[in-house]
Structure formats: structure tokens, C-alpha cells
């Protein structure tokens, strides 16, 4: 008895509160955006998304309680096994999977579908945490980052094969963990520079980018005129840059699928087609923008209710929040996510156990990536990438996976 009350006291209340608020808000939003106000429907019918989500929430709470009750060492000990098991589950999809919205990512069991990809997010975090936590020999340290990237590359390749680009990109979020664990900061700068050059190349054309790179080279050659090693490095980087620009264009034209290219073109404003390619993005912005400061009021959103916004209960659920709760509601939601992510980082840093810290940074990255990409796409900052908004979007797999992901961290922090 004494032991148990002590246990519950050590649970991080802040994270649990953020979780409860987000999940509750999620259910009410799903109710609003999926309820057909023009038809009398039974609340208890399982054809309603909101009734199903209620079941998902109930089972998620059960999962959370189970996680809080079982020994946290289990996760540390079996992390690699769990990771491999999740990878196998993803591979299983190729054999018994069902295709939904063009992505072969679902395993159907009765009326419910499971998306193994969702679970791979926390299993990868577990595996990476274990990987960084183990003492490394010097030889192993030499290839540390190559090995680390393999942990995320495997799920990425499997998911890409299932044509679920959005979910694959999520695994890039572990770079945040890598950075914290010592990956050179250049990787971030180069990453940002690469994104800038890519956008520029796609927005204008490769000639512009090459001119800019050449100018930068000239600048650095002038600055480094007395140091021949630096000059060599500058020239080498320049060559890589040029190759990257050329590859960007070729990759853009030949690797991306048509609809993906279209999403990027519309975001960059190269294509104006509000009734066609631009429709979803445009309607999504209209939904959020029309909410104004105070919103239209709960259950009063027209954009989401009348199906102008696509996927209004899953990937585009933020539209319903923006439309019905306005800037006030939207701001509260982004604040909650930001607070939750920063809280996870603070707790990770406080914890002396490197496994916990690495797991914490891993999941902070995943939540952050989902949060930024999902909301960014609904407000027209980013191209449309179909990933759910954690804790809020409709969907069993997503909610279960994020619940497990968060509560393992809460449990790990207990000790």
C-alpha cells in the first residue's frame, strides 16, 4: 500500500494532464467533425467515428495503466526484441496487409485495422536508446553514427515500400536524438541549407541555385585565400552542392509521384488550382482562417461539417479546432504540444539514466515532428503530408501507439 502510493506520487503529473487534455479535446473534436447533425444517429452505434474513438480512448487508458504497473526494466531489457518484432509486423503487412488511401500499411483484424508503422515509432526509440546506452568499444564508436542511422533506415525503407511517405519521414525526427548524443552540429546546418537550396531550386530553377553556390564559393575562396586546405574543402563542398542541386531537380522530376510533386508545386505557388490540386490545402486554410479570433463555436464549423476539408477527423483534424475554437483554441493546442515536448526534454535531461534520456529525446522528436508537420500542412506552411496529429486525430493505432510511447517514458521516469 505504502509502496503504491509512493509510486503514483512519482508519476509526472504535468505530462499526464497534457495527455488527458489532448485526448479529451481530440474526442470532442472528432465528435464535432464526424457527427452528422442532419441525421439522427445512435450514439452507441459503432459506425460512428466518435463512438469508436471512445473505445480507443478506453483501451488506451487500460494500456497506460498496464504500462504504469509493469516493471520498467522490461522495456530496457527487451527493447531490441520489441524493435525487431515491430519490424517483422511491418513486413507482415506485405503479405496480409490491406491498402487504405494508397498506402499498404494496415492489417485488418475483424472490424478494426492496425497500422504497425505507428508502433514502430516507439520501438525504434527504445532500440536507439538501448544502442546509445551500451558502452561502445573504440572501434564501434568509429561507426557509431552509421550504425545509428541503420536503426531508422530499416523502418524508413519498409514504409517507403508501403508507399506511406509521410510516416517514413517521421523517422528522420530521430536526428534530434542523434544531435543531442553528439552528432556534429554541421548536420543540422547542412540539413537546413539543403532544404533552403531545394526549395529555391524548385521555386526558381537549378541555374539560380548554382549561381548562388558559385557566389558563395567565390566569397569563401576570398576569405580562405591564405589557407590551401580550407580552399580544397570549399571546392569539394561546392562540388557536392552542385551535385545536390542537380540531383534535387532530377529526383523531383523522376522519384516523386505526381500527386506529391503537385502538393509541393501548389505550396510554392507555382500552380494555382483552388478547385483541383490546391483544393485540400486551400479548404484547410479557409477552415482555420474562418475561425477568426474566438472561433465559430463548438459544432458550428461549416468547412469541417460539410466535408470541404478532407480527412477532417484524422490528418486534418486541426482544421476543426481552428474553425470552431478560433485563434484562442489553436493557440492553446500548439502551446500544449510545445509544453509537452519541452517537459519531456527537461525530464530527459534531469534523468541520470542515459537510456531514459535517449528514449525521451527520441519520442520528443517524434511528437515534435508530427505536431509541426501536421499543423504546418493545415495552415499552408508545408506541403500536404499525411500523418496524424498525436493524441487528437481519430484512429486506434495512432492513439494506442502514442499512449504507449508517452507512458513508457512516464514509467521510465518514475524510478
Amino acid at each position: 500500500m505504502n509502496q503504491r502510493s509512493k509510486t503514483s506520487f512519482k508519476i509526472d503529473v504535468q505530462l499526464v494532464v497534457y495527455y488527458i487534455i489532448l485526448v479529451t479535446l481530440g474526442w470532442f473534436t472528432i465528435y464535432s467533425s464526424s457527427k452528422n447533425q442532419f441525421v439522427d444517429e445512435s450514439f452507441f452505434s459503432f459506425s460512428n467515428l466518435y463512438t469508436k474513438q471512445l473505445v480507443f480512448i478506453g483501451t488506451s487508458i487500460l494500456l497506460a495503466m498496464v504500462i504504469l504497473l509493469i516493471d520498467s526494466r522490461l522495456w530496457i531489457h527487451y527493447s531490441t526484441h520489441i524493435y525487431i518484432a515491430s519490424l517483422l509486423l511491418m513486413v507482415l503487412v506485405f503479405f496480409v496487409g490491406t491498402e487504405i488511401n494508397g498506402a499498404l500499411a494496415w492489417i485488418k483484424i475483424g472490424d478494426f485495422s492496425i497500422q504497425p508503422t505507428e508502433f514502430a515509432k516507439f520501438t525504434t526509440a527504445l532500440a536507439l536508446a538501448k544502442f546509445f546506452n551500451e558502452g561502445k568499444t573504440n572501434k564501434e564508436k568509429k561507426f557509431l553514427w552509421v550504425n545509428a542511422f541503420f536503426f531508422i533506415l530499416i523502418p524508413i525503407l519498409i514504409i517507403l515500400a508501403q508507399k506511406d511517405t509521410g510516416s517514413a519521414l517521421v523517422f528522420l525526427s530521430f536526428v534530434i536524438l542523434f544531435y543531442r548524443e553528439g552528432l556534429t552540429g554541421w548536420i543540422l546546418l547542412i540539413g537546413i541549407f539543403a532544404i533552403a537550396i531545394t526549395v529555391f531550386t524548385l521555386y526558381k530553377n537549378e541555374i539560380y541555385s548554382i549561381v548562388i553556390l558559385t557566389n558563395l564559393l567565390a566569397l569563401f575562396l576570398f576569405l580562405h585565400r591564405k589557407n590551401s586546405t580550407l580552399i580544397k574543402r570549399d571546392v569539394a563542398l561546392y562540388a557536392v552542392g552542385i551535385l545536390f542541386v542537380l540531383f534535387t531537380n532530377i529526383g523531383y522530376q523522376h522519384i516523386l509521384q505526381d500527386h506529391q510533386r503537385m502538393r509541393i508545386d501548389t505550396l510554392l505557388g507555382k500552380v494555382k488550382d483552388p478547385l483541383g490540386a490546391d483544393f485540400n490545402s486551400n479548404q484547410s486554410k479557409i477552415a482555420i482562417g474562418s475561425g477568426g479570433f474566438w472561433g465559430k463555436g463548438y459544432l458550428n464549423g461549416t468547412q469541417t461539417k460539410l466535408d470541404y476539408v478532407p480527412e477532417q477527423s484524422t490528418d486534418f483534424i486541426f482544421c476543426a479546432i481552428g474553425e470552431e475554437w478560433g485563434f484562442v483554441g489553436s493557440f492553446i493546442v500548439i502551446s500544449l504540444y510545445t509544453l509537452m515536448i519541452i517537459r519531456i526534454i527537461i525530464l530527459s535531461e534531469k534523468n541520470r539514466n542515459q537510456f531514459v534520456r535517449c528514449y525521451g529525446y527520441g519520442i520528443a522528436g517524434v511528437i515534435f515532428f508530427h505536431f509541426f508537420i501536421n499543423i504546418g500542412m493545415t495552415i499552408g506552411l508545408l506541403p500536404i503530408i499525411g500523418i496524424p496529429l498525436p493524441f487528437i486525430s481519430y484512429g486506434g493505432s495512432s492513439l494506442w501507439a502514442f499512449t504507449i510511447l508517452l507512458f513508457i517514458f512516464i514509467k521510465l521516469n518514475e524510478n
Binding site: F38, G292, F293, L306, G322, F327, I379
Partner: protein, 600 residues
């Protein structure tokens, strides 16, 4: 290693925080600064469906329905909401060629991309039902309920008027109207458009992304129920109007009957006419084309208000009144008549010989008497220094008697006839003219022309002994108890009532033993005056005016039958039958009635 990179947590927290700021600002921009999204959302989801009110009904003076409404269904299009659809199917339902459909949609686009325009008018109930069911397959189209005018009795077409689609100019003038709306284009429909059109309603409905209506917006809080146009009570007597048109069967001309004490028009016939039901709905433009190109009958031409006839002998009554008022003659003054009025080499003939006073002059329609009287009015140099002054004074009397001016009442396209002014004669005769130059005006010939309405009103003035209310066709608006206040002003003529007594007595004598004997009715004291308006193009026009009963008159009638010959031949019997019908509600003289109807 971990200690080494501990400070990197701040970079990471920084990235998270910057992201938070970026998202926050973007949201603030979308939701607070940029206001355009609210409109976009409303444009998406809210469709304002105009609910057209039914036009007001029109009753006759005895509560019989003259005009009512029928349901009709129009197909509308909002060009902006169009998506690809099955043109073949729609063309089949509408029974039009694809080219025609494309043309109509292009026309709609030119007018407005956002607002609904008419694509097809008045579909049948079956087509309406069929389309309504499949409408979700035709995004951008919707069906609007409308009403069409219907006339239970095919009479009084000119006065009732017709409705048609509004023109671009009318839309620009009055924002009430939208493309495809109906507006009164003539007659009562035009004069009382504001009363009849009612108030449009608006139904705000939610439309989903598939163009399906999904219910009313906020439970109909912004809906406005259409209010039907106000009903009107006409001054017309349906039965009398019908009877008048029957009597004028196969003739050209006009009947105007007025209730003197109020100026209410009891019947106003212009022949040839047409069935008002011809100018309703989608057959309107076709039929209008046929009617307007009929140059032989010109059925659209409203003779009662627009024709200019020489007034003929009936105008002698006006000159008699002016001569009495001006003191040129007294009721007992006698002018000798040698069988004509001689001026130099020219003579205006008379059909009799002997002396006349005003009574007998009216009774036998003596040209000499009225030529002399008119000449003397213009030659009164003690009162007027020049003929111009004298004529201007005469003209003023004539205007006060309702000639040469418009009443501007509720009648459509009324013309004012023509009473020449002094400058007209100055120009024509190079200022060298005298009473004899223009003397034919004294007996209603010459330059002057009047409309049937003016003549009927003149009879009302005589019946009232000196005043009139503007002749009009609508007596009550909204309910029978709320009178039309526009026509309650009494207009004075400036001629003393006692002078009218002389005129009335002359007209009575004309019926008893003069030119107007054919107007006599047993049991009704009718007084009248014939006129034979000279027609340079053919047989003279038969004209008759009458008032009955002599004591407290109830009906003043003007009848003109083109090429009908003498006034007593056909016009007088018609006036007599109209009077009998109106006062007795039945006509006993069936033989006369038959002879008149058969008269051509």
C-alpha cells in the same frame, strides 16, 4: 560524452520554441489578420436561396378575381459552382440542344459568376420532380419555385398589363432585382410594381462539398420568409368590362366608363385587344412578337389612353361651358342659324335652320351656335387685348377640363392628346389669325385631338358640375377597406356649377328629342351628346358621351367606334347598353344588344 553535449538541450528547446512561434504567428495571420477566409467559408457552405414571393392578387370592385398566380419551376445556375456534369442528360430533361445550353450558361457567366441566373423557365411538374431527385449530379444547378400570372377572364389586357424578366437597366436602377426576376412591364403590373412584388425571402442553407443541401443554417436564424405582394382592388367592374368588350366585338375603338363622384374607372375597353394569358411565362416573348408585329389590328395599342381622336361635336359642350363662364352667352342668349356659319367664302354647314339657344344648340348639335360662341370668346377685346391672350385663357379652361394634359394617374403610357397653343397658331398663320381662322376648333374639328379617357373624364366633370378626381383603376391597396390615397384630391375646373345645369339640360334634350335619341333607356334618366369625329382616312368615327342617371349620376361613359359613322348609329347604343347594364345589372334590350354585337 553526454555531459559534453548537455548544452545542446537549449538548441533543441530553442528549435521547438521557434517552431511554436512560427506556427503561432501563422495562425494569428490566418485567423486574426486576414479576414477573407470567413467569406470564403461562407461562400462555400452557405447558399442563399431567394424565395420569390407570389405577386399580389388583383380583384375587381366587387371582389371578383382578375389576376392570380400559378406555381412554376425555374432551373437556375451558379456558374462558379459548376463542375463537369452530364450535359446530354440535362439537355434531354430540358428538351434543348447542347449548343443552346452552353449559350445560356455563358450568358449567365457574363452576368455574374457568383449569383444565380435562369437557365430554363417553367419546367413541368414532372421534369421538376425528376431533376430535383438527381440534382446532386448537376452541381451548380438548383430549382427555384416561382409563380406565374394567370387571368381567369381574358379581359382588360391593356390595363392589367403583364410581367416579364427584368432588364439589365432595371437591375442597375433597383438592387431589389436580380437576373431572371419578374417585373411588371405595363398596366397595373407596372404602376403598382412596388406593392405587387412583395418582399423576397431568403433561405440560407448549408451546402456540402458535393453540392447537396444539408439543412438550414443555424436552424434558419437568418432565414427571411417571403411576403406575398399586396392585393389590389381595382375600380373595374369585371362584368361591365366583359360586357363592354363583348359589345366592341369586331370593332375598333374604345369605351371608358367612370364613376363621376370618385374618378374610378368602371370599365376601359380598347379594341382590338388580346388575351392577357398570352403574355405569361415562356410563351410571352413569342406571343409578344406576334402581337406587336400585327400592324393591321395593333392589339397592343391601348386606344383608350393613347389614341388621338378629333373630339367631334362632344367638344361643343366644353365650348358652351367656357362661353357661359366667360359671359359670352347666357342660357337664354339666342344665335340665329341660317343653316351654317359663314366666314367669307367658306361655310361650316348645319343640318337645320332657325335660332338656337344653348339648350337647343346642344340638342341638335348646332354648328353655327358654337362657332359663333367660340369666335366671340376669342374676340372679347374688352377682356383680352389680343387674340393670343384670349386664346390662352380659353386654352387654360380646356386644360382645366382635362384636355391637352396628362392625368399621371395609375394608367400606363397615357398620352395627353393635343390642344394647340398660341405659339402654334402664331407660327402656322404668321401671327395673323383671328377667331374665324381657328373657328373649327369650336365644334371639335381642326387641330385639337383628345383621348377617350379625357372625354370620359370630361363627362365626369359635367356630372359633378365642375370638378373631378383623377380617373384611376386601383381603388384599394392591401384590403378593400384601405383606399388608394393617391387619388383623393379634387380638381376644380373654375367653371360655376350653374353653367353645368344648362349643359346637362341640353344633353337631356338631345336624348329626348335630339341627336342622341338612340341612347334612350326606359326607366333610366340618361343624358348624352353625339359626336361624329371627322376622319380624313375613311368613314367618320362614331362618338357618344353620356351620363346617367341625370340626378346624382353614377356612370359617365365615352364611346368611340372607329369608322362607325354617325354618333347615333353605334356609339350611342353602346353607351346606352353599358349604362343599362351597370345600373340594372341586366340588359332587357336583347335585340339592340345583338344588333350592336353584330355591327362591324
Amino acid at each position: 560524452m553526454s555531459q559534453l553535449y548537455q548544452k545542446r538541450q537549449y538548441t533543441i528547446i530553442g528549435i521547438v520554441f521557434v517552431t511554436f512561434i512560427v506556427l503561432g504567428f501563422r495562425l494569428f495571420y490566418l485567423q486574426v489578420i486576414d479576414n477573407s477566409f470567413r467569406q470564403s467559408a461562407d461562400r462555400n457552405a452557405l447558399r442563399k436561396i431567394i424565395e420569390h414571393p407570389a405577386r399580389g392578387l388583383i380583384y375587381d370592385r366587387n371582389d371578383s378575381l382578375l389576376v392570380y398566380n400559378d406555381a412554376a419551376y425555374d432551373l437556375m445556375v451558379v456558374p462558379n459552382e459548376l463542375r463537369t456534369f452530364d450535359t446530354v442528360e440535362l439537355c434531354r430533361v430540358l428538351n434543348i440542344e447542347k449548343k443552346e445550353l452552353v449559350k445560356r450558361i455563358e450568358k449567365a457567366m457574363q452576368w455574374s459568376k457568383m449569383l444565380p441566373s435562369l437557365v430554363a423557365q417553367q419546367m413541368s411538374k414532372e421534369d421538376y420532380g425528376y431533376l430535383q431527385e438527381k440534382l446532386h449530379r448537376f452541381p451548380g444547378f438548383f430549382v427555384q419555385n416561382r409563380t406565374l400570372r394567370h387571368y381567369p377572364h381574358p379581359i382588360a389586357a391593356h390595363i392589367l398589363g403583364y410581367v416579364g424578366e427584368v432588364s439589365r437597366e432595371q437591375i442597375e436602377k433597383d438592387p431589389y432585382y436580380q437576373m431572371g426576376d419578374y417585373i411588371g412591364l405595363s398596366g397595373i403590373e407596372k404602376a403598382y410594381e412596388n406593392e405587387l412584388r412583395g418582399t423576397k425571402g431568403i433561405r440560407v442553407v448549408l451546402v456540402d462539398v458535393h453540392n447537396r443541401e444539408r439543412g438550414s443554417y443555424k436552424g434558419g436564424i437568418e432565414d427571411v420568409t417571403p411576403i406575398q405582394g399586396v392585393s389590389l382592388w381595382s375600380t373595374l367592374d369585371l362584368e361591365l368590362q366583359k360586357y363592354g368588350e363583348e359589345l366592341m366585338h369586331n370593332k375598333r375603338g374604345s369605351i371608358v366608363a367612370i364613376e363621376p363622384e370618385s374618378g374610378e374607372i368602371l370599365c376601359i375597353v380598347s379594341m382590338p385587344s388580346y388575351d392577357p394569358n398570352l403574355l405569361v411565362g415562356n410563351v410571352r416573348s413569342k406571343n409578344y412578337g406576334i402581337l406587336s408585329s400585327d400592324e393591321v389590328n395593333s392589339p397592343l395599342f391601348n386606344r383608350a389612353l393613347m389614341a388621338r381622336y378629333p373630339p367631334g361635336s362632344t367638344f361643343k359642350l366644353a365650348n358652351g361651358l367656357i362661353a357661359l363662364q366667360e359671359g359670352i352667352v347666357t342660357p337664354t342668349s339666342i344665335y340665329p342659324c341660317p343653316g351654317g356659319y359663314r366666314m367669307g367664302s367658306h361655310t361650316i354647314k348645319c343640318h337645320h335652320a332657325g335660332s338656337t339657344n344653348i339648350y337647343s344648340a346642344i340638342q341638335i348639335s348646332c354648328n353655327t351656335y358654337f362657332c359663333k360662341a367660340f369666335y366671340n370668346i376669342l374676340s372679347n377685346r374688352t377682356k383680352y387685348p389680343t387674340i393670343q391672350k384670349a386664346y390662352a385663357s380659353w386654352e387654360q379652361y380646356v386644360n382645366q377640363l382635362g384636355f391637352g394634359v396628362k392625368f399621371d394617374s395609375d394608367l400606363p403610357y397615357e398620352l395627353k392628346g393635343f390642344i394647340p397653343d398660341t405659339s402654334y397658331f402664331d407660327k402656322k398663320y404668321n401671327k395673323a389669325w383671328n377667331g374665324n381662322t381657328v373657328v373649327s376648333m369650336g365644334i371639335g374639328q381642326g387641330e385639337a385631338s383628345v383621348t377617350p379617357l379625357q372625354m370620359a373624364n370630361f363627362m365626369a366633370i359635367i356630372a359633378n358640375k365642375g370638378f373631378y378626381y383623377k380617373p384611376h383603376v386601383i381603388k384599394a391597396i392591401g384590403s378593400k377597406e384601405s383606399p388608394n390615397t393617391r387619388f383623393q384630391k379634387r380638381y376644380e375646373t373654375g367653371i360655376k356649377p350653374e353653367y353645368f345645369d344648362a349643359i346637362i339640360q341640353g344633353m337631356e334634350m338631345a336624348v329626348i328629342g335630339g341627336t342622341a335619341r338612340s341612347a334612350k333607356i326606359d326607366g333610366i334618366q340618361i343624358i348624352g351628346k353625339t359626336g361624329t369625329a371627322q376622319n380624313p382616312h375613311g368613314r367618320d368615327h362614331s362618338v357618344f358621351v353620356s351620363i346617367a342617371p341625370k340626378e346624382s349620376p353614377k356612370i359617365a361613359v365615352f364611346v368611340l367606334v372607329e369608322n362607325g359613322g354617325f354618333g347615333s348609329t353605334v356609339a350611342a347604343p353602346i353607351a346606352s347598353l353599358i349604362t343599362e347594364f351597370y345600373l340594372n345589372r341586366e340588359v332587357k334590350r336583347k335585340d339592340l344588344e345583338k344588333r350592336i354585337i353584330d355591327f362591324q
